[in-house]
């Protein structure tokens, strides 16, 4: 059976759940959010990604209602949320510090929001049990927050913010306090819970791996602006700018001059080096200068000169970083550029015949590199 792909952002008939319309937020002279417009759709797992101070947390706090908007408007299900105070919004937040109430038990923490709605006792009990089950916390219901571990606290915070079945759940660096192993497990747990509950999740993070893993779409932010909003694969494989290419993952950047040729560009980057060719549908205009961005894993290293490759350069190995699953070769070209090439170590016992100071050939296909404007 063919599954329909979840891409509401490509469907013009879809009504977005959240709309930022030319939103600007200033703190005194400092502009935290700069004329930003963005649509987030129902059931999405949307990640706001950027370095600290890029405005991602401010966006989240505006959605929760803890910060106002200086200009523009934010719509939730088509209604302007500016006049709605935080306690009247169908939006719940999971705080970075978890903000569990230390004087209440796990059970009472989860029930807190339900009690504020004056629900009958029975309904509260049922809902709390459901949440405890969802987050596998049944055994800890009567413990206080300081009597459970960090991972369990994280789950209590999640259960508490999901208990009221919000239209939108905000997660502020939800996994920041967990160690790496636990974080990876919890990422999948989060995705699982998001799928089960069908809630729209907006997550703020500075960890690109986390954003790529969990999100249906990622917004890369810098200095209060959205640089690119796209699926994780598009962000990684087709970055729209040097900033995004550089921010996400490892990348080789080659600066050069582009000349239109066929369905792409010929790029000359240094004296004595061959002309590179990259396919692209992007139009650079008349300006000749450009950047070529190539991911290290798309560069092939070989000791012998390979036949029939479009892009082929020669260099010597400067450094080898053995990471276990991968090896990264730092190769210096005659013109001085250093290019990183990565190979997967798919066999346990293999001859790794390349070593320091060896002359090697680097090659990549004409679709491997991305041409970016300066």
């Amino acid at each position: 059976m063919a599954q329909t792909v979840f891409e509401p952002w490509n469907d013009p008939d879809q009504e977005p759940l959240i709309q930022f319309r030319n939103v600007t937020k200033r703190f005194g002279d400092f502009t935290a959010i700069d004329n930003l417009s963005l649509d987030i759709f129902e059931r999405e797992f949307f990640a706001l990604l950027g370095p600290s101070g890029c405005g991602k947390t401010t966006m989240m706090r505006m959605l929760a209602g803890f910060e106002g908007v200086s200009e523009g408007a934010i719509y939730l299900s088509g209604k302007d949320i500016a006049p709605v105070p935080p306690n009247k919004r169908a939006v719940n937040m999971m705080f970075q510090s978890y903000a569990l109430f230390p004087h209440l038990s796990v059970w009472d923490n989860i029930a807190f929001g339900l009690k504020r709605d004056r629900l009958p006792k029975k309904a509260i009990g049922d809902r709390v049990s459901e949440m405890l089950q969802l987050t596998r916390l049944e055994k800890f219901a009567h413990r206080k927050p300081h009597q459970i571990s960090g991972g369990q606290r994280q789950r209590v915070a999640l259960a508490r913010s999901l208990a009221k079945a919000p239209k939108l759940l905000l997660l502020d660096e939800p996994l920041g306090a967990l160690d790496k192993k636990l974080r990876q497990d919890t990422q999948f747990e989060l995705m699982d819970i998001q799928e089960k509950t069908g809630t729209t999740f907006v997550i703020v993070t500075h960890d690109q791996e986390e954003a790529m893993t969990v999100a249906s779409r990622v917004a890369v932010m810098d200095e209060g602006r959205l640089i690119q909003v796209d699926t994780p694969a598009q962000i990684y494989e087709s970055p729209n700018s040097l900033y995004v290419a550089d921010f996400i993952g490892d990348v080789n950047i080659i600066e050069g001059h582009a000349k239109k040729s066929g369905d792409g560009y010929d790029i000359t980057f240094a004296e004595g080096q061959p002309v590179l060719h990259a396919k692209t549908s992007r139009d650079l205009g008349s300006a000749g200068k450009c950047y070529l961005a190539i991911r290290p894993e798309k560069v092939t290293v070989s000791a012998e000169k390979p036949e029939g490759r479009t892009n082929l350069v020669k260099g010597t190995i400067l450094d080898i970083a053995y990471l276990g699953n991968l090896s990264t070769y730092h190769v210096k070209l005659a013109s001085g550029q250093i290019i990183k090439a990565q190979t997967a170590n798919t066999r346990r016992i293999a001859r790794r015949d390349l070593t320091w100071e060896d002359e090697v050939w680097l090659s990549w296909t004409e679709t491997a590199a991305v041409v970016l404007e300066v």
């Binding site: 929760a64 209602g65 803890f66 105070p85 935080p86 306690n87 009247k88 939006v91 719940n92 937040m93 705080f95 970075q96 510090s97 903000a99 109430f101 230390p102 004087h103 807190f112 929001g113 504020r116 709605d117 413990r143 206080k144 300081h146 009597q147 459970i148 571990s149 369990q152 508490r160 913010s161 009221k164």
Partner: protein, 271 residues
């Protein structure tokens, strides 16, 4: 366990002797059989018995207790409110001025506070009595409460209040259900501080008390001017006993709760 060096042992002895010898003498002489205060004539609990017969002392003690409870309770409510507004109110106009003004009575000489309150009460025609002492004690002790509570509020994780709002509480519910229970220890110690300040205040009480109401410190002070009586020693000993029991209980309770907290945290890590 390390042994004390002779130098440390000497300093410790001298320090504690300096602090406690006067009180020790007072306690010993409260059990003196003689009417002459400084002449030892054998052990007796006679003055404790006489104290319980002394209507004037007992009514002064009762007044003091009423004043202390009333003024410290009002001061705690007002001081907590002031602290909350100053720490949480954001940058409203005049905030720096207000926070300076709330601490000013801490350093104001008590004589001036007492005198100005006296002038105020005369000015508005309020008869001096229990009410005026309560008002006066509230005035000067609420700033102590405010200092204690605001130091706790500064270190209070603000996201807890935001979480309460986020989960649908009104701002008042957030305060009542989340902030207040968490800062309760500070509020209680503020109340205790106000209570003890009110109990032993002599200066402000003597400005604001009237013939209808006398507090214990005023009573003790005025009877000492007529000569120290062994009854006063007995009374003071009782006060020392009460204070000691209070302090010991408080420190035991806090010690036990912090030990329990540590044990819980260790258990959580092990799980």
């Amino acid at each position: 366990m390390r042994r004390l060096t002779w130098f440390n042992a000497t300093s410790l002895t001298l320090g504690f002797a300096f602090l406690y010898i006067p009180m020790l003498i007072l306690i010993i002489f409260s059990f003196n059989a003689s009417k002459l205060v400084m002449v030892w004539a054998g052990f007796s609990t006679r003055w404790y018995g006489e104290l319980l017969q002394n209507e004037a002392f007992l009514s002064a003690a009762w007044t003091t207790l009423k004043v202390a409870v009333a003024s410290s309770t009002i001061a705690t409510v007002l001081g907590t409110m002031a602290a909350y507004v100053l720490i949480r109110g954001g940058r409203f106009w005049g905030r720096t001025l207000f926070s300076g003004m709330i601490y000013a009575p801490l350093v104001m000489p008590e004589v001036i506070t007492g005198l100005s309150l006296l002038l105020l009460f005369i000015g508005i025609g309020l008869d001096r009595g229990v009410l005026t002492i309560v008002l006066a004690h509230t005035t000067f002790s609420m700033c102590f409460v405010s200092v204690v509570v605001s130091s706790r509020l500064v270190s209070f994780d603000r996201s807890l209040e935001e979480a309460a709002l986020d989960l649908g509480s009104t701002p008042f519910e957030a305060f009542r259900l989340v902030t207040l229970p968490i800062i309760a220890p500070a509020v209680i110690s503020g109340w205790l501080l106000a209570f003890t300040l009110s109990l032993d205040d002599l200066v402000i009480a003597s400005f604001t008390s009237g013939p209808s109401a006398t507090t214990l410190p005023i009573k003790i002070f005025s009877s000492i001017r007529l000569g120290v009586s062994p009854e006063i020693n007995a009374l003071s000993t009782i006060l020392i006993l009460i204070v000691t029991i209070g302090v010991l209980t408080a420190s035991l309770v806090s010690k036990r709760s912090s030990l329990k907290m540590q044990a819980d945290e260790r258990a959580a890590v092990r799980n």
